[in-house]
């Protein structure tokens, strides 16, 4: 029952040096020590989001940041387009509807990527659309949508674009300013390798004009204008999770030291190695095409005669490795394995050894070391 290695789609393993920060003595969230901490964290977040705009920090899960966006940006009956190819696309659409938006959902099959051409066509057919909101990395299916292409389309058509990068920011390419992502939201417990409890939202001038234009807002805790005001004093409007700020600051320093390009490459290589290893022993990649396989969440259909519970239980009990099953319509159909944050070759290989061992124990015809060898090959060919 020990959880030695979290290979989940989040929360992820938090490196010792990050989690030890949390045990620091408490400080006054209205004092100079906190102000300095806030400034350091801001610099780290701007680098991470690749933006010159402030990144507002919420004490909440990532979903809180999505609700923050919806409650500040939506005016009743605003037309908002949301491509949906998984559970978190549905959630995005649901949240915007709660705040009165008329949401046009573009459905894609689960396991399929969002087709930018179809999004473009939908936006053109609906010239009164005020925003496209999309999930960059669909945690429920392991599909990575083409954020850059979607941003380009919106820029051309003059439509606001919101990117939910909760499960891949810090482990995947994201250039908020360069790509023209007007609003980006994310959370602390995924590729930043921080504990859960903080969420982030950044927005540019264009998005701020929409916030202005959407008053009055039905919110209080999520009120962006208050956050902006307190940001000027290096504070948050409400008491923040101070100890998580300590951890976040350390996590961001580690990211800066590694460098984003290198960090993204590490995620990309680790996920590719995990995928090739798993596929080599009979797991089937759930995303229909390798080209939109996520760098951070890897979803697989199971070999016959093995259930998701079998695999999850075996890995946890014999190897201390925690992985996830499906959610929503894929519940019981797939397993999901994270390659997130602190991920490295050793963790990937340990997980593949566990998967192999599981299949062999269940009586499947798998040659020992097949998966690890397939992964090693990827690591050899792709240094990071």
């Amino acid at each position: 029952m020990d959880e030695d290695l979290l290979m989940l789609p989040g929360p992820t393993n938090v490196p010792d040096e990050i989690r030890l920060e949390e045990a620091k003595k408490m400080i006054n969230h209205r004092g100079e020590l906190f102000h300095n901490l806030y400034k350091e964290v801001q610099n780290g977040l701007k680098y991470l989001f690749q933006t010159d705009n402030p990144v507002y920090i919420l004490t909440s899960s990532g979903t809180g940041a999505v609700e923050c966006a919806a409650s500040n940006l939506v005016k009743k009956n605003d037309k908002i387009v949301v491509p949906v190819n998984g559970e978190f696309g549905i959630r995005l659409a649901d949240i915007f509807e709660v705040y009165g938006a008329k949401v046009i959902r573009i459905p894609f099959e689960w396991g399929e990527g969002v087709d930018p051409a179809i999004v473009k066509e939908t936006l053109e057919r609906n010239p009164d659309t005020v925003m496209l909101a999309f999930v960059y990395n669909e945690t429920s299916t392991g599909v990575r949508n083409n954020a850059k292409a979607l941003a380009e389309i919106c820029k051309k058509l003059g439509v606001l674009v919101l990117c939910d990068a909760i499960s891949n920011l810090g482990g995947d390419e994201l250039y908020a300013d360069k790509w023209g992502l007007d609003i980006v939201v994310s959370g602390s417990q995924k590729c930043i390798a921080c504990p859960p409890g903080l969420a982030f939202i950044t927005l540019n001038e264009k998005a701020w004009r929409k916030v202005e234009d959407s008053k009055p807002h039905i919110n209080y805790y999520w009120n962006l204008e208050k956050m902006k005001k307190f940001h000027e004093k290096n504070e948050t409007p409400f008491t923040p999770a101070v100890s998580l700020f300590f951890a976040l600051n350390k996590a961001l320093k580690i990211i800066e030291k590694e460098g984003i390009e290198k960090r993204v490459l590490r995620h990309k290589v680790c996920s590719k190695a995990l995928r090739e290893g798993a596929v080599s022993i009979g797991f089937k990649l759930y995303p229909r095409k390798e080209e939109y396989a996520s760098y951070t969440v890897n979803a697989f259909n199971l070999p016959s005669n093995v259930t998701d519970s079998d695999v999850k239980k075996f890995l946890l009990e014999k190897y201390g490795i925690a992985i996830s099953g499906g959610i929503g319509p894929t519940k019981g159909q797939i397993i999901r394995i994270g390659t997130i944050g602190d991920i490295n070759q050793k963790q990937v290989e340990k997980t593949l050894t566990g998967l192999e061992d599981c299949l062999i124990t269940k009586g499947l015809n798998v040659k020992r070391n097949t998966a690890v060898e397939a992964a090693s090959k990827v690591f050899k060919e792709n240094k990071y």
Copy 2:
């Protein structure tokens, strides 16, 4: 600039054994380890709130729990009465208005206690009132309102009652079930002596019927029905701040071990000692009457020729003690000192020594040791 001792109205000093918990290895928030943790925390919270109902845990500040209550309980144009004798009474009223309530504010002077007779009369004059929402311990003024009396009035009149106990739960009497408080909200970083980042809301059957009756709710992250559903599985709907759960669990065990009655007495005696000490050297109690002075937040007008900044700066720089000034209309007029959570005689005496030293340094005619002696007398006469 070191902050050695937090004598703030929150966050408060977090004992070593609590903050070290935060550094534990991360666990899966959908796994058995977390389920067991959740169950333990529930037991501790039920004891703390003195209720048999579940206590839902939010990753947010205490204000989040207030917004959670408002967004689930309010139907447009609901008449809600809010007595206002400080900043947090205003906030309570503001939040209910955001969600469409017709709020009747009963204004009391800052520094005055809420008069239950006036509340009763207001409720009787407005028989269509659906809820009374009040702040138990007004953090901005150091005034403790008569929660028990207000609850009794509401019970008699059949009006729902919400108690905001953010800054005194765990350091003051509160019996949710026995007193008939239909909804209680609080936060982690005050008298529980936990780091900030978690908030709590508990509600009884009567309040749940109002939640049902107030659909559709304009919320997602704050959705109580989702929390109830996940509570059945010992989980939260959205990824919680897992490391703060570790800390909370330890903090609640400490509370159970000390016993609530004893803990409340400790807060009561420490605040009384601090008040008598401060008053003995020329500070003036900001609450108009001693009888409604808070057990946890102590507010004082300053002796002449001394400013709030003088005192705050002196205490921080010479003693490493952090205290607060006023907020809103009392900004610059008062200082506020917390006697919260881990508070003890030594901390109170150290603070009084600092206050004395400050006044003497500023040239005021104060005899050394006056304040500490006044406090010692209180501690001698009131064992805890």
